[in-house]
């Protein structure tokens, strides 16, 4: 069993995606002047959202909207509600964070990281493991509930005007942020155009995908490394939380996958989504609705601690657990 884990971890760590991320982190920590130009990085994000959404839509078009999809989406929402409540309880009872920063961190850990999801699908592809295309839509659905729960948790310790309100701008940011619009839009386009659509654009959305992901991971590594180099507010306790919380959330994801009878591939992805934490949509919402919380804590913890952990150690571990307990 131990050999199996080591082989999986080795295959994952030797993948170009993880190695380019590590290169970015190392370059940032060494204060190299290596940068990915901002507009180019934005272009990479747009490409990845389009490609992953489109491929998911095509995959769902093959099988149609199944009961599995609906139950997994409902379970995803439930996880998005449950995980922030648990994270908040851990952070406040251990006094690792004040109630407001705990609520902000909890919202991040209840929401999802699309990049971690993409890395998970890449590992499954590398291992030749099939997964359900509807998980793309589940990803988009799981992004929001934790934001609402996080703000509700924060409001419990705030009074009057200090309370986070659900303003139009916040709702706009939550439901219409660029990555969700593109991911879901491309998913719908993939669903409508189906296999003939895929044949028409596969040279664009499939062949260059891994190379573009490597470039994107290099940029992510640079950003995570810079955050890490400037992370003065992260205590050892918070770092430990950033490493333990994904394991706890992945366990909840695994239990859910077992209850739903998901395949090992789809179960791995549900575990990955549960374990991942947001660093795009939720920080934006927190900046608007909960300005009292500190981004130097919640973004750094999510991007510079949990994301690298999931990418290097978490993903093979989640697949190992799913392949042994599911299917």
């Amino acid at each position: 069993m131990f050999d199996q884990i080591l082989t999986l971890a080795g295959a994952n760590l030797a993948s170009p995606i993880v190695l380019f991320f590590a290169l970015g982190v190392a370059a940032a920590l060494a204060r190299s002047d290596l940068t990915v130009p901002e507009a180019f990085a934005k272009g990479l994000t747009i490409y990845l959202m389009l490609a992953i959404g489109f491929k998911g839509g095509v995959a769902v078009a093959k099988n149609g909207v199944t009961l599995d999809f609906l139950t997994t989406a409902a379970a995803g929402i439930l996880l998005g509600v449950l995980i922030p409540v648990i994270a908040h309880a851990i952070l406040t009872r251990t006094r690792l964070a004040d109630p407001l920063n705990a609520a902000a961190v909890a919202a991040h850990y209840g929401s999802v990281s699309i990049v971690t999801f993409v890395a998970g699908t890449s590992l499954l592809t590398l291992l030749g493991v099939a997964y359900d295309g509807y998980m793309i839509a589940v990803t988009a659905i799981m992004e929001t509930p934790a934001i609402i729960v996080g703000l509700w948790l924060a409001n419990a310790s705030l009074k009057g005007d200090e309370r986070a309100g659900f303003s139009g701008q916040l709702l706009h940011e939550v439901f219409l942020n660029g990555s969700v619009v593109l991911l879901m839009g491309a998913f719908l386009i993939g669903y409508v155009s189906g296999e003939p659509g895929m044949q028409a654009v596969s040279a664009f959305v499939e062949a260059p995908f891994k190379g573009v992901l490597c470039l994107f991971m290099l940029d992510m590594g640079l950003l995570a490394g810079r955050r890490l180099a400037a992370a003065r507010l992260l205590t050892p306790g918070l770092v430990a939380f950033g490493l333990v919380m994904p394991l706890l959330s992945a366990s909840l994801g695994l239990a859910t996958a077992m209850a739903l009878g998901l395949s090992p591939g789809t179960g791995t992805l549900l575990m990955t989504l549960a374990a991942s934490s947001s660093y795009i949509a939720v920080p934006a919402a927190m900046r608007i609705a909960l300005p009292q919380a500190n981004p130097a804590i919640y973004v750094t913890l999510s991007l510079a601690v949990t994301f690298p952990f999931n990418l290097s150690v978490g993903l093979p571990l989640y697949y190992f657990a799913a392949s042994n307990l599911l299917g």
Binding site: M220, L233, A284
Partner: protein
């Protein structure tokens, strides 16, 4: 000799996510013109920040507007609720403009 007209320039440093709140406050104070420029890098109470954030929400921008001296208090009062809730930096400077009808 060229005639110059005294005005007040208000500079507001704010995260992109909060910029709409500042714009709303300026609109309430009947400010009709302003310019927003991106900021590249800086350091504040929460540590260093730079323009290479993921997503636009955390990017820092500077909004600058020029107003008549007598309108300054109205603008600052309108900005007060935003200042109380969100982290923004507001500074006011004396400037002189050439075309008084524009400001």
């Amino acid at each position: 000799m060229t005639v110059m007209h005294p005005r007040k320039r208000i500079d507001i440093f704010v995260e992109m996510a909060v910029l709409p709140k500042v714009e709303e406050a300026l609109t309430r104070a009947q400010v009709t013109g302003f310019t927003v420029v991106p900021c590249i890098k800086g350091r504040g109470w929460s540590g260093e920040w730079s323009s290479d954030e993921i997503g636009d929400a955390g990017r820092m921008v500077m909004l600058t507007t020029i107003t008549r001296t007598e309108a300054l208090d109205v603008v600052l009062e309108s900005l007060r609720p935003v200042m109380q809730r969100w982290r923004i930096v507001v500074s006011v400077a004396d400037v002189q403009v050439l075309r008084s009808e524009k400001f």
